[in-house]
Symmetry: D2
Subunit: 153 residues, 4 copies
């Protein structure tokens, strides 16, 4: 029984498998310099590697960079639960921009609020890699998972 | 008096001025192939010129492309009202993905729900350029406009 | 075949059937003075009959009144499509408050953005019954419809 | 200096002051059986005392009850920071319904994501009073605070 408990806490996708999906199937994420840093059954940590193309007037990071980062972190979190079901898709995303991050790498940490049969709902906190105590943007997102996916709890 | 009425309906930014902001100050929008097609006092129409980098698994357009497109259309709409106030920033954005667009150019049409002294709230409808009768994504967004901006109605 | 087309435009619930659900099964809506005014295949119009209990500081209508009104208008719109499937439930709702309505009856008009097999997404505009040209609040909402519901398009 | 630190952690409104606002100025909250349980500089805990009027088809709590509860918890949290500024108003609210709570008292815990000069953004978790480990609904909300409010950080 303990084993079952342990096995539950293992992500159903590895860093490598996720990076393969990105490099072969998600050119936009690659374009954005996204890199999955950690993946567990409980959270995903995604990095957007800074480039000058992230800048917007005001010397801060453009909103779409953070939206893409949030969505990708949530995608990884969903796949950590259902396995490499590439066809999982975002159905909605809500984001609040809280502070203006300085130029530099961004991190997003996704966790789940609900893991349902059809819908997976999560929360994503974003911060500057150089200042991980201060959340600069907060999002919630809903993913729809195709019914033919692996059986879930 | 009629003249006053007419002048109200003129956008405070031109296509050219907006394109200058994008090309000089918003490299991410340029990277996404965004191009402002129409700008009036009442709506903005933005195009995302298709490239294979928009694709995601399932043969459809990646969500972040639509989020970036929605945000840029709203930015243009805000500047059409307040003039070239580059420092206007998104404070929140909510998007619903309704259908999976086929590969191709995407269009976003932004209109305003509220034009307040501090907050501007708008609605953005997105569709495939090849099928403009079917909304594929719908967003609402709030922009914050710095107080030093031109006086507004 | 034309008949099939015609029958598509008929709501699958009547004003009377909806009022029965409210009066027997939705005491909170009754408490709020909600009354369905019009129901068609394409839109639902719901009224919140004013009482002094709607007031909040500032002499305007409390936000929760508008949230409850929006949700009920959307519920009616969903049932107009799937029939009296009481178990349809809200999965998410996003609302923007645009203006402060004066005391008085409120109206909400719900229309659909997407009518999917599992999820129904709609848009709700709210205004004062005495000033129907000015939207005072705008919402989008997603409903989940149980799979055992009548077959849909 | 330590004193300044301490004084920062004190709520600028008491349970009693908040209850006075509700009983005199927010009849809708009273109608909903809302009661502020705890108020600190960092969080607010609000209860909706169960009545049969909360029920909806499916034997669960109606969505608008949770929306009103979330909004009231956030209102208390905002006043804990700015003092009894009754004119603080919700500008937007986004809610995800995660699970169907059984009939009974509901609790909402509001915390802040951002405390800005003009906008205050918070997060609200809701759960059944009888099962506080399981979040049944999650909301984020933005309040606008009038500029004449007490000076803030």
């Amino acid at each position: 029984m303990q084993q079952a408990g342990l096995s539950m806490s293992v992500a159903r996708i590895t860093l490598e498998e996720f990076e393969n999906i990105v490099s072969e199937r998600l050119p936009f994420a690659r374009l954005m310099g996204l890199r999955l840093e950690e993946i567990t059954y409980d959270y995903a940590l995604m990095r957007a590697c800074y480039s000058e193309e992230f800048l917007r007037p005001g010397g801060t990071i453009a909103g779409p960079v953070m939206m893409g980062l949030a969505d990708a972190a949530m995608y990884a979190m969903v796949l950590a639960r259902v396995g490499p079901v590439e066809l999982a898709v975002t159905t909605s995303l809500n984001i609040n921009f809280l502070r203006k991050p300085a130029p530099g790498d961004m991190l997003a940490r996704a966790t789940l609020l609900k893991f349902g049969k059809r819908l997976v709902i999560g929360e994503i906190e974003m911060y500057s890699a150089s200042s991980v105590d201060e959340v600069v943007a907060h999002a919630t997102a809903t993913y729809s998972v195709p019914p033919e996916s692996p059986v879930r709890d």
